[in-house]
Symmetry: C2
Subunit: 113 residues, 2 copies
DNA sequence: CGGCTAACATAGAGAGACTATGTTATGCGG
DNA sequence: CCGCATAACATAGTCTCTCTATGTTAGCCG
């Protein structure tokens, strides 16, 4: 295993959720935000991030426009669309559904000892 | 996506945990137990199950011996080894670590409104 | 002005669960 | 008793998804 820390299938959700907080970020900031908010546990590599952003743009979940950072560097700023917001809701619901199912296996209903 | 319901990376943990409950099961029973305990949300396909069991035997996490079911069919009965139990602990710890990191992103610490 | 780094980008690798298919053997209905 | 369904195991190949490795452009700074 390439020591992956982002569980497969969760990256889109994490990105969408991050954009839902900040309403407008460029790629680097998204990765930084995810790493920081997760106490450095979740580290999105650039090779995962940019393809994901492009996929999601094609899906219509976010829009992008070129701008400049405070330091004057060019950067693409991403925003959630309405469809992106709906998708986020769907993914969270699904994620929690499965998480709870796993929790039931890890901690099965126990009788009193 | 092939509608996968078992999140990649969690299958071994689920199998180990299921065997930790029942101490001895054959393949079909393991799959049934996982499906049942998860309210039919997690459905392990046979094409995932058997290769996983063999990988885990090679790892030394479980042992198997041939026997017969109540209906007289041949079946391989699997048991956890001590190493399997240790592995289970490790995987659960790791899973919860990452789950909590994701939860922090989904539900970031909020200030009072 | 040359190296460092921010920021974006893409190709290929690797892991892991799935689909599809096959095999053996038991039980059952006609 | 024969054929069909099903239990139980098994394997090959596919697909998805993230990562590694690599490359490019453009500002900043000594």
């Amino acid at each position: 295993m390439p020591k992956s820390e982002i569980p497969p299938g969760t990256l889109d959700m994490l990105i969408l959720r991050t954009l839902a907080h900040h309403r407008e970020l460029h790629g680097f900031e998204i990765a930084e935000s995810i790493r920081h908010t997760s106490s450095s546990i979740l580290n999105v590599e650039e090779g995962s991030l940019y393809p994901a952003l492009q996929r999601m743009m094609v899906q219509g979940w976010l829009t992008a426009e070129w701008g400049h950072t405070d330091q004057g560097r060019r950067a693409r700023y991403y925003k959630l669309t309405a469809a992106g917001r709906r998708q986020l809701t769907r993914e969270i619901k699904d994620y929690e559904r499965v998480s709870m199912a796993i929790a039931q296996i890890l901690n099965p209903p126990r009788f009193a000892t």
